[in-house]
Assembly symmetry: C2
Homo-oligomer: 266 residues x 2
């Protein structure tokens, strides 16, 4: 799914919800908790149930890696199961020197067939270049994250503004909105407004609504642009909305609620 397809999907549906599949076996409904293989059963039911209420899925690789190679197999199966009507994001926060980033890009863009992957900018733009070499994919760069620790480094003053501003400006100067997106946490309402002025055209991927306490209304007010320009992620609040055999119905209800709120706000 490319930039114009994504914009048109969001604006037609008046919905920019991304459902985060941070599937933790220890949080599965009791009847599914016994077997690793049930994670794919869970994911498929969550996807089926939430498909009408969202435009994207974000799969957090950590929750699959912690299960070893069988987890990685389930990760691949989950990517395959998501239909091409929805944007598929690998939330992997990778990046390394060029020849290594190339391998990561291959893993997520070629093998997983993800539409987008999240990357960490610390090591510099040459480490992101192999991801951006996939011109029909999105590379989503960490900007200002939702956690408290974002004050440790992201928020430091540099000669040209805060570190996260440097990251966003240097990256956006090189890569347009068709290719680059930025992670900006929903818990950072004021800075989101300023970031939107720095980069009027790029999409923001916004985690932190729901379990982390960010506000949907504030995020939309401060972060939207002419294309909407937002993908707002909710993970735990949707996928663990229910804990019984009706977990998929509960997840659908929660996603539908968020989607209805978005429709009013967009």
């Amino acid at each position: 799914m490319n930039h114009s397809e994504l914009v048109s999907k969001i604006n037609t549906q008046k919905n920019c919800l991304c459902v985060g599949l941070d599937t933790d076996i220890e949080k599965l409904p009791l009847h599914l908790r016994s077997e690793i293989e049930n994670i794919i059963v869970f994911n498929k039911q969550i996807i089926d149930a939430t498909l009408p209420h969202c435009v994207a899925y974000k799969i957090n690789t950590a929750f699959y890696e912690s299960l070893g190679w069988r987890g990685w197999q389930i990760l691949e199966e989950t990517f395959k199961y998501i239909p091409n009507t929805h944007l598929k994001i690998a939330d992997a926060k990778r990046a390394d020197i060029g020849n290594t980033s190339q391998q990561y890009a291959k893993a997520f863009f070629d093998v997983m067939q993800a539409d987008a992957v999240t990357v960490s900018p610390y090591m510099g733009l040459d480490c992101l270049e192999p991801f951006f070499a996939y011109k029909n994919k999105f590379t989503i760069v960490l900007g200002l994250t939702s956690n408290e620790g974002s004050n440790d480094f992201e928020n430091l003053n540099t000669d040209n503004g805060k570190l996260y501003e440097e990251v966003i400006q240097k990256t956006a100067a090189k890569y347009g909105a068709e290719q680059a997106m930025f992670v900006v946490g929903a818990t950072k309402a004021i800075q989101m407004k300023e970031i939107r002025q720095l980069i009027p055209n790029h999409f923001l991927l916004v985690p932190g609504v729901g379990a982390q306490g960010g506000s949907l209304a504030e995020t939309i007010a401060n972060g939207r642009n002419a294309d909407t320009g937002l993908l707002i992620n909710a993970s735990r609040s949707i996928i663990y909305a229910g804990s019984g055999e009706d977990f998929a119905i509960k997840a659908a209800e929660e996603a539908e609620n968020v989607a209805a709120e978005m429709k009013l706000l967009l």
Copy 2:
């Protein structure tokens, strides 16, 4: 392997070589290039051949992830094959918010049984904490990397020195040498000397000797401390030293050469 065991191994052998297993199927000797499964054949022979000449192995996860779940299986098998006489480093450059980092830590420390994992500091110390929660393991934080792009962000001026200095000082203030190490590229000789003054006790993991052009003598002169305090990595120059059926012999010869040079310098 803990800190005092590592120090004693390095000082007994007068060797701080880490062999990097960045195994790329496209660079395998021709007779092994046809099958993904041959990567484990290659890795095992490289490990057997280089074991007497090094103290650690660094496995670059990207090269395995790019092969999908079978690659992840080979990654696990490679970790299992390395004997406990050597430090096992997962070069993964992970980090994310707490509950996600916890899953990454589990993947590498519990499932893979790695002794150490590399992490990216961009998002802040709370994202590294779940790794450091494993007190008998090493968490290796990116400091100043060997690539040119390190000037983009790592090298920016902040209110308290360069960004990489902030990262190193803040992390080292919280975590001692028994737990924390830092990545410093061999191509950054002058800064390595300064970093050594900032953190007299911590180990540095030094990539960039060999294929990337850093000097072994300079690295040892500028980076060593009373415990030696260095793990110097070479990947491509050793594992691809030969391209025929005698690849393991060639790798052993190259590792032995580096080890002999180290013995003179240490």
